[in-house]
Symmetry: C2
Subunit: 105 residues, 2 copies
Amino acid sequence: MYDLPMRPFKHPPVSEFVLERLLYALSDPVRLDIVRRLAELGEASCGELDGGRPKSTMSHHFRILRDVGLVNTHTVGTTHMNSLRQDDVNSRFPGLLDAILVQKE
Amino acid sequence: MYDLPMRPFKHPPVSEFVLERLLYALSDPVRLDIVRRLAELGEASCGELDGGRPKSTMSHHFRILRDVGLVNTHTVGTTHMNSLRQDDVNSRFPGLLDAILVQKE
DNA sequence: CCCATAGTTCGAATATTATCGAACTTAAGT
DNA sequence: ACTTAAGTTCGATAATATTCGAACTATGGG
């Protein structure tokens, strides 16, 4: 009935995670880098993780990471805080993220 | 100096494996299916794994799997026998293949 | 030698994707 | 209100990929 105030982002439930789409999302260097740095930092805004890339480009990659279930985004003031959905991914694909994140580079 | 007799396939050494490319190769449903069935069967010819798809399509996917280091192909008569380079992949990316292959589907 | 079999290679059509500028939206600050 | 900051959305372009038919390349058999 009612929309909650400002819900720009839809995050899929774990039951809708699709392995192929996760793998695809992680196969892009920019996105893999985002995931790695989120794993280090715990959370970060979009702007903190652009490597000088345009906002529109980053927004695109964050959307893909959200859509496949890898990243959670919540709004804090005017910034979007992103974090890895590590527990969710682990529960659905045990060991997958760990196997990827142990790689230094 | 000399070419070995008939070496159509080049398989990359483990040191040249690239995580992003592995993930990309595995993100295609056709290729992921090939990898899963090779894991079950141990080895299989190209023809055994086409699901009615044209040979040229399958050849394309096998080439990608070979190029990234996931699959080894050796010629036996007129057929090409394929197998997973599981030990090689495990040595470079421990746990990755397991995390993917435990998924039923 | 001819022929069938198993794949590869080539070429072209189609579809997806990545990238980025420009315009827009929302939230804060002054 | 005006302005800035942080992202998103839209649109276009360029690069990549997938698919598949057709022609080609062995290899093995009769």
